[in-house]
């Protein structure tokens, strides 16, 4: 007979759901407002989103306090798992979102911002990512991932021009394939462990001492393929440049940060025990992934003629760089990954915002893409301050100290060094050097060349508004003074990561 379900609310730990719920409620709230009064200005929605995200942030903060007291909180039938990784990554997700949403407040009007639904989708997406990182249940991960992805596809397409449709379709189709991979991988794990929870999978595999090695291989291969798609590791990266180019710069920047950190968290959860299980195959595979991704995407970035595509390839390379942390798998490495990503958030926020403010509606004469290098030629002469700021972000991306990303790189390489991955550290260093070229190329165009066409000089700040200025200023300050934030961040992240057992 069916027993009545009788569970006390305390055990459920409903607070674990709070942050995501806030986001969902915010999205619904926006939809409801639209029901009552349409044609409201985008600024309203932006601010509402930020407000809800702020509440979301507070909720995350609350859960972080709980974590600091009680350790990992498990809620809602063990589905929600709020550990340090979840908290840190939620911080990153929410804060990054708060910083990226205001980019909607351009002085020019773009199609997607005329929809309140856009902001609703944005919040749904955030909720999806938050679910992804706050659980170790493969089902919830899958559902959260799809929620976020579907929102993202739609938002890309809402930019409403041929390239953005193309981008959305490509992303969508490949995402569907990746979803297939994911589910197949999950199925195989389920077959050998009878569970879809990562902890359980690990426990069972351990207890069986990996007897079903072939099955594990298949499962890992499929899951890795699907996450490699999300993380844009070569050769699963092919969507990234096209999608970045097709979507608005604001969204492209967002895509380079938030979905990836969510995917990284899941990857870390999934591979942490596998990496430590002495499966040589997995290590070798990850090693190859990391090195190939870092290197070859760098080489592709070298030959780009469009800044946004270049940044897309550079993001791929950075993802490869961060992926090294998963390979290394130590606490230091995981901490380094998160630190790297925090730094990367600020830097990419800045650089994509700079692209965003220079976005023009129609292509300039003689240009084949939105942000070709030539467009920036001689920028120092016509728009010195934006040029300096853009240069700053490029230097940061290249890892020139003392700017933000340098510290990320430092810790990442250090993590490799202390775990004995000398060769990897060496490759990382070499790749950073190669990467210097294409970032420098933009600086060269901006600072050392003469403007090609006097018409260009107006475009650099065409899209600028006070809000965007603020965001860019925030990013710039963040990158310049990152050095002072490293120590607290390091302690914080390190503590969270260590106490979650990673």
């Amino acid at each position: 007979m069916i027993q009545p379900v009788n569970i006390s609310m305390d055990v459920l730990n409903l607070t674990t759901l709070a942050p995501m719920l806030v986001a969902v409620v915010g999205a619904l709230f926006i939809l409801v407002i639209d029901l009552f009064k349409s044609n409201l200005d985008k600024s309203l929605y932006v601010m509402i989103s930020i407000l809800f995200l702020f509440v979301d942030l507070i909720a995350v903060y609350e859960s972080s306090l709980t974590f600091m007291q009680n350790g990992t909180v498990i809620g809602l039938f063990d589905v929600m798992q709020i550990d340090g990784l979840a908290i840190v990554s939620q911080f990153i997700i929410v804060i990054a979102s708060m910083l990226f949403i205001p980019l909607a407040m351009t002085s020019k009007r773009f199609h997607e911002y005329s929809y309140p639904e856009y902001f609703a989708l944005f919040l749904f997406m955030i909720a999806g990512f938050q679910f992804m990182v706050a659980t170790d249940n493969l089902i919830l991960i899958f559902v959260g991932l799809e929620t976020a992805s579907l929102s993202l596809y739609t938002m890309i397409a809402m930019h409403n021009r041929a390239k953005s449709f193309e981008a959305a379709v490509k992303y969508f189709t490949m995402g569907a394939l990746a979803a297939g991979f994911y589910s197949f991988g999950a199925m195989v794990f389920y077959a050998i462990t009878g569970s879809v929870e990562i902890n359980q999978i690990a426990a069972v595999l351990d207890a069986n001492s990996y007897k079903n090695l072939g099955y594990v291989f298949v499962a890992v291969a499929f899951l890795l393929a699907s996450f490699a798609f999300k993380l844009s590791l070569v050769p699963f990266h092919t969507w990234a440049p096209d999608v970045y180019e097709g979507s608005s710069a604001a969204l492209a920047g967002y895509m380079s940060i938030v979905p990836k950190i969510a995917a990284f968290i899941v990857t870390m959860r999934l591979f942490e025990f596998l990496v430590h299980s002495d499966i040589v195959w997995l290590k070798a595979i990850l090693y190859a992934f990391v090195i190939i991704t870092m290197t070859i995407s760098n080489l592709w970035a070298l030959v780009q003629s469009d800044v946004k595509r270049m940044l897309a390839y550079s993001s791929i390379s950075h993802a490869g760089f961060a992926m090294a942390a998963v390979l290394i798998g130590t606490t230091e490495a995981n901490t380094a990954l998160l630190l790297y990503w925090v730094m990367f958030t600020f830097t990419n926020l800045g650089s994509f915002s700079m692209l965003w403010i220079s976005r023009q509606k129609n292509l300039l004469p003689g240009q084949s893409s939105d942000h070709s290098y030539e467009k920036f030629a001689g920028m120092i002469k016509t728009a010195p301050i934006p040029a300096v700021i853009m240069g700053l972000f490029m230097l940061t991306l290249a890892g020139v100290p003392p700017f933000a990303l340098f510290w990320g790189k430092l810790y990442m390489i250090n993590a490799a060094v202390i775990s004995g991955y000398t060769f990897l550290a060496f490759i990382m260093a070499i790749n950073s050097a190669i990467a210097g070229y294409y970032y420098l190329k933009l600086i060269v165009y901006m600072f050392m060349k003469e403007p090609v066409d006097s018409r260009y000089e107006k475009v650099y700040t065409k899209n600028l508004s006070l809000t965007l200025k603020t965001v860019i200023g925030f990013a710039a300050v963040g990158t310049i003074f990152a050095v002072f934030a490293i120590n607290p961040l390091l302690n914080l992240i390190g503590g969270f990561v260590y106490n979650s057992g990673f």
Binding site: L213, F217, T238, P241, W281, L299
Partner: protein
């Protein structure tokens, strides 16, 4: 007495700095006068010091300040006035003073009159530092300083290609030797812990013999450069591109003798290594003959005198090498007088002949330039070593020394060279002053030099005649410092035979020279005469083809190799490698970017390919699991 030391040392510096203030200005007569006065001050001080030392005074030793002090190395600006340095000071300041005075006239019409005095005084200062320093490093300062001034003065007429070329050649050749000298200094320092003469010489006896030999050789290499010994001799003849007073001062009387001075100064060292001494003496003898032979046929008045200088330097080295340091020093002094006189006389002739140097184009100048003729003739007699002029005393002693020490080959060669010396000296005198006048066909109207120029030459004339009587007091003075001894040939008869034989030989040479060149049918050689086409003549005239050899086999290859290194190696190999790496990276990107075809199907296929690769790898590993140990060890080598 110290103040005289400082005056002697720094008066030339003041003179140089003062003159250099006016370098960019047109000629100022007072510059020359003041410079000459300051050098005269220096001379007077030197004389005072000389008398002090001559009177048995203690050597004066001062330390001005620290120069370099690091690690175990301590080098002060220290100066010493002892028997050796005071001799040199006397010679240097005397000749310099006279040359300064003389130059007032000689450089009369030169637009760079002021600059000339700046350089010239700077040279005197450097020379004084060289001879007065109490350590090897200070000597090296002066050493390089005189090199610099020599560069500036040879290339004084910098618009002349040949002059600047000669200047650079002199500088670079000297540098080659300086390297040897530096190595010598390093050896001294690391073996004795100091570069001070007194410390070094007190410790040389403790060093092992091979080290000493090396030190001796390297120091002598330094001396070879400055004193233009074979094979570094070519610069001296080319240095005659400079103004003639410069040749008189630097390339006859002072700088070129610095090498001899070094050997004399290092006598405690060379005493310990007689092997090196023999080598020095042999080389000196060789150079004496070698240079004299080239002087026989040369057709450039100044070059002839330069070769004679070279030859006489050979004599000095021969003496120094044989341990007869005091003889070498004495010859150095005597040589300075008559050779400077000879050069200044040549300067007069050049002035008169509008810088014509070929003696074949002169002739019969004795009527027009009586005093010059007299002085040059006397100087030539002195050079030839005719009794009772200066050269007789100094040169003859060298011969005696060689004979007494049983170095008969050296003796023989030197004796023969003495005859050659007499011949080329009077070949020159005869061609210039005697015979028919051949200059008028070139439209030249010679005249005697200014009186004060002649007066400036007078003291040299005087010393060239009477220097012989200074031999005994000089000997007494340096007896202790240089461990000097008289050379006495055992048998009185042998002694007289030698003396008279030498004189006869010399005078015979002189007569031969006169007979051959004091003729009225002498014409300007045009390369057609039989003599000129003789192989022997050609070899000598082309200086044994040594400059040609240097140009063809050293300079040219160096230039070509440099070009090769730059164009072929640096740009094509080293730089191209770096660029090549960058290019390979870039091209790899360019080649493989086709992977991003933009076609969705292809993108999806890439994803599947990735998956299949993962699976294949999985399969491969699954098979290889049993070899996991080996794989593990391989990967751990990679740092996994």
């Amino acid at each position: 007495m110290e103040k005289y030391l400082y005056i002697a040392l720094f008066a030339p510096l003041v003179s140089s700095l003062f003159s250099s203030l006016f370098t960019a200005k047109p000629k100022k007569q007072f510059v020359g006068v003041i410079a000459s006065l300051l050098i005269a001050t220096s001379f007077v001080s030197s004389v005072i010091l000389g008398f002090y030392i001559l009177g048995g005074g203690e050597a004066i030793h001062v330390e001005l300040m620290t120069w370099i002090n690091t690690g175990g190395l301590y080098i002060p600006f220290g100066f010493v006035v002892d028997e050796i340095s005071v001799t040199m000071m006397f010679v240097v300041t005397l000749v310099s003073m006279l040359v300064h005075i003389y130059s007032n006239g000689y450089m009369d019409h030169d637009p760079s009159f002021n600059r000339f005095f700046a350089w010239l005084s700077a040279f005197v200062f450097s020379m004084m530092v060289l001879v007065m320093s109490d350590n090897f490093a200070g000597l090296f300062i002066g050493w390089e300083g005189v090199g610099l001034c020599s560069w500036g003065l040879i290339g004084f007429w910098y618009y002349k290609e040949s002059a600047t070329w000669a200047a650079n050649e002199a500088f670079i050749m000297n540098r080659i030797a300086d390297l040897g000298m530096l190595i010598g200094l390093f050896l001294l320092y690391w073996n004795t812990g100091s570069l001070q003469y007194d410390v070094v010489f007190s410790k040389v006896a403790l060093l092992d013999h091979s080290t000493l030999i090396w030190i001796g050789i390297f120091l002598f290499i330094g001396a070879m450069g400055k004193s233009a010994q074979f094979p570094l001799h070519t610069w001296l003849a080319d240095a005659m591109e400079g103004p003639t007073p410069v040749s008189a001062l630097i390339h006859a009387a002072t700088m070129v003798t610095a090498g001899v001075y070094l050997v004399i100064r290092s006598n405690p060292l060379y005493d310990l290594v007689p092997e090196v001494g023999i080598f020095i003496a042999s080389l000196g003898t060789f150079v004496a003959f070698f240079a004299a032979s080239m002087a026989l046929v040369n057709r450039d008045m100044k070059r002839i005198i330069a070769y004679s200088t070279l030859s006489q330097l050979g004599y000095m080295f021969a003496a120094a090498g044989l341990g007869a340091y005091w003889v070498a020093l004495f010859h150095l002094m005597a040589h300075a007088f008559f050779k400077a006189l000879l050069f200044l006389g040549a300067g007069n002739v050049m002035h008169a002949m509008h810088d014509e140097l070929d003696p074949f184009k002169m002739g019969a100048l004795k009527e027009k330039m009586k005093w010059t003729w007299i002085m040059m003739t006397v100087a030539s007699f002195a050079l030839a070593g005719v009794f009772p002029l200066a050269g007789f005393f100094s040169k003859d002693t060298i011969l005696e020394a060689a004979f007494v020490d049983h170095h008969y080959v050296i003796y023989g060669v030197l004796l023969f060279t003495a005859a050659l010396t007499a011949f080329y000296s009077f070949r020159l005198v005869a061609l210039i002053f005697h015979g028919n006048d051949r200059y008028s066909q070139f439209g030249i109207h010679p005249h005697e030099a200014y009186n004060y120029m002649l007066w400036a030459m007078a003291p040299l004339f005087f010393f060239a005649i009477i220097a012989g009587i200074m031999q005994t007091p000089f000997f007494e003075m340096v007896e202790e410092a240089l461990n000097a001894r008289e050379y006495h040939i055992h048998s009185e008869a042998v002694k007289w035979i030698m003396l008279i034989g030498t004189q006869v030989l010399v005078i015979a040479s002189i007569f031969y020279a006169y007979r051959k060149y004091n003729r009225n049918d002498i014409t300007v050689p045009d390369g057609t005469s039989k003599t000129e086409n003789r192989l022997c003549y050609k070899v000598l005239f082309n200086q044994y083809y040594i400059p040609y050899f240097y140009e063809e086999y050293l300079v040219k290859p160096y230039r070509e190799l440099s070009g090769l290194f730059w164009k072929k190696f640096d740009l094509r190999v080293v730089d191209a490698t770096v660029d090549g790496i960058a290019k390979i990276l870039y091209n790899t990107g360019e080649e493989t970017r086709g992977m991003q075809s933009g076609n969705l199907s292809v993108m999806l296929r890439w994803m599947v390919v990735g998956l299949v690769i993962l699976l294949i790898f999985a399969g491969a590993v699954g098979l290889a699991v049993r070899y996991s140990d080996k794989i593990l060890s391989f990967l751990s080598a990679l740092g996994v």
